[in-house]
């Protein structure tokens, strides 16, 4: 069976000569939940950025659903990104817009009818414990709330692949558990998930594949 996601000898070098990733090779099957761990600066965020096509690898190739990412034209990239949800470490939310507007953004750009947007966004807001904050500007939210808004925006259009970069970094233990439950539910519904974290507690006892990065190298391919 064809791999859902495959990285072949992917390297990323930043100017002048900083090797962020070194010949990374691994595959992810459809529906899998994979953790990527490693210390700060080990290349976790860079790896997710490359998969999301926010950056291009210096060498090597990434295949998504069998197609090399290097073959995607500038015009095709937005459509690729609609299949991939991304929970950014710095959230990347529109601070002056409301919670509702931020979450609805992913659907709006796809031309989903307003009624359906409203229905789906409000349902997700409720599920993530953000009820009552729909109209509140994001800048007024706590770090944990922003984290959940970022997660909601990433999953609202039911992506085939969900990338999450330290998605529990700003959450307390109870909220962390709630968010991880949401990830588990999404995975159970068929979404493939790659979650980058330096927090071992997140993947211990979860019986999921864990890829370990250190100084840009994959220690357990």
């Amino acid at each position: 069976m064809e791999d859902f996601l495959r990285l072949e000898r992917v390297s990323k070098v930043y100017e002048p000569n900083i090797k962020a990733l070194d010949e990374i090779t691994f595959s992810v099957a459809k529906g899998e939940f994979v953790f990527i761990t490693g210390p700060s600066g080990s290349g976790k965020s860079t790896l997710l950025n490359l998969i999301f096509r926010a950056e291009k690898p210096t060498s090597g190739e990434i295949y998504f659903e069998g197609r090399p990412l290097s073959s995607f034209s500038r015009k095709e990239i937005p459509y690729l990104r609609r299949k991939i949800g991304f929970v950014f470490q710095d959230f990347k939310l529109l601070e002056n817009r409301s919670v509702f507007e931020n979450i609805a953004l992913s659907l709006e750009i796809q031309g989903v009818p307003e009624g359906e947007i409203r229905h789906r966004v409000l349902r997700l807001i409720k599920r993530l414990g953000l009820s009552g904050k729909e109209a509140q500007p994001v800048r007024q939210l706590s770090g944990g709330e922003k984290q959940r808004v970022a997660l909601a925006r990433a999953v609202i259009n039911r992506p085939r692949l969900l990338l999450a970069d330290e998605p529990t970094g700003n959450l307390d233990a109870r909220r962390t558990e709630e968010v991880m439950e949401i990830f588990e539910d999404l995975n159970a519904e068929g979404t493939t998930i790659i979650l980058a974290t330096h927090d071992e507690a997140l993947f211990v006892d979860r019986h999921r594949r864990v890829l370990v990065l250190d100084e840009g190298r994959l220690l357990n391919p």
């Binding site: 999301f52 926010a54 937005p78 990104r81 750009i109 031309g111």
Partner: protein, 291 residues
């Protein structure tokens, strides 16, 4: 289209102050360009009008009969440089002289029959004719009814030089002001979008197409260009009226009316500014898209 308009309104509301401020700056830049353009345009036009007043005087022998004068008029009118030939009879010459001299005794005893009739030859383009006047007057002088040919060559050459200077000065000046205006428009559009860099980046990261992101931004830029052109045109027109009042009777030969841009000029300026704003907006927003 309806969705694009609604997104454009939303986009405008999100940064209304920045868009209004940039429209104003573009309008002021354009006003400076348009005003100086108009001044240069009028100066060149005024020089041309003054030059048209300078005619070639062909003095005929006093005994010249009307038919001989008529033949010379026909001959001169055939010349492609010539716009008009007027015949001034000796009686009119005497009358003009009497009006010219305050001391009436000076002309006492002077009879019209001793005065030469004159042909006044005006040219379609005096500056084009200036270079050929010497040869033309020599040719006219050979006609047996012609007494003398006289023209204000030095004045015409001076005016031609002034016109050439104004053309070079106005073209290079306009080019500089035009480039400065382009720079201002590009900079203002770029600055207004730089404030929204993060927003444009986020939109491109969540899967918005370049058209979705840039469409409203470019449409607003087009509206900015249109409003700025209208504002600048209105302001320059007001300045023109004020100037007309201020310089009325200031220059001899000046009619007191300044020329204003015609429909073609206004269309070119408006379309140019709109295109410039749209292009500036396209390139500035393109920089912030993460594809």
């Amino acid at each position: 289209m309806k969705k694009l308009l609604s997104r454009t309104i939303k986009e405008f509301r999100a940064a209304a102050f920045a868009y209004l401020a940039s429209t104003l700056v573009i309008a002021l830049g354009l006003t400076v360009f348009s005003f100086f353009g108009l001044i240069y345009f009028n100066l060149v036009h005024f020089t041309e009008e003054v030059a048209k007043e300078l005619v070639l005087n062909v003095y005929l022998k006093p005994e010249t009969n009307f038919t001989a004068a008529q033949n010379l008029i026909f001959q001169l009118e055939k010349n492609p440089l010539v716009a008009k030939v007027s015949f001034v009879p000796p009686e009119k010459v005497l009358e003009d002289l009497k009006q010219l001299f305050e001391e009436k005794e000076l002309l006492s005893g002077v009879e019209a029959k001793f005065l030469p009739p004159v042909l006044l030859v005006s040219f379609k383009d005096p500056f084009e004719a200036a270079g050929k006047l010497k040869a033309l007057s020599a040719e006219i002088a050979q006609n047996p009814v012609v007494l003398k040919v006289q023209f204000a060559k030095s004045w015409l050459m001076r005016l031609a030089n002034i016109k050439r200077f104004l053309e070079i000065f106005s073209l290079s000046g306009l080019l500089l002001v035009g480039l400065a205006t382009c720079f201002v428009i590009g900079l203002v559009v770029s600055f207004s979008l730089a404030q929204r860099e993060r927003e444009l980046e986020i939109l491109s990261l969540v899967g918005a197409t370049p058209g979705f992101i840039q469409g409203p931004v470019i449409l607003i830029a087009a509206i900015e260009g249109l409003l700025a052109s209208a504002f600048a045109t209105g302001l320059v027109y007001t300045l023109k009226i004020y100037l007309e009042d201020a310089i009325k009777g200031f220059f001899p030969g000046f009619s007191g009316k300044l020329l204003f841009w015609n429909e073609i000029h206004l269309t070119i300026i408006t379309i140019g500014v709109i295109a410039l704003c749209m292009a500036g907006s396209y390139w500035a927003s393109r920089r912030y898209l993460r594809y």
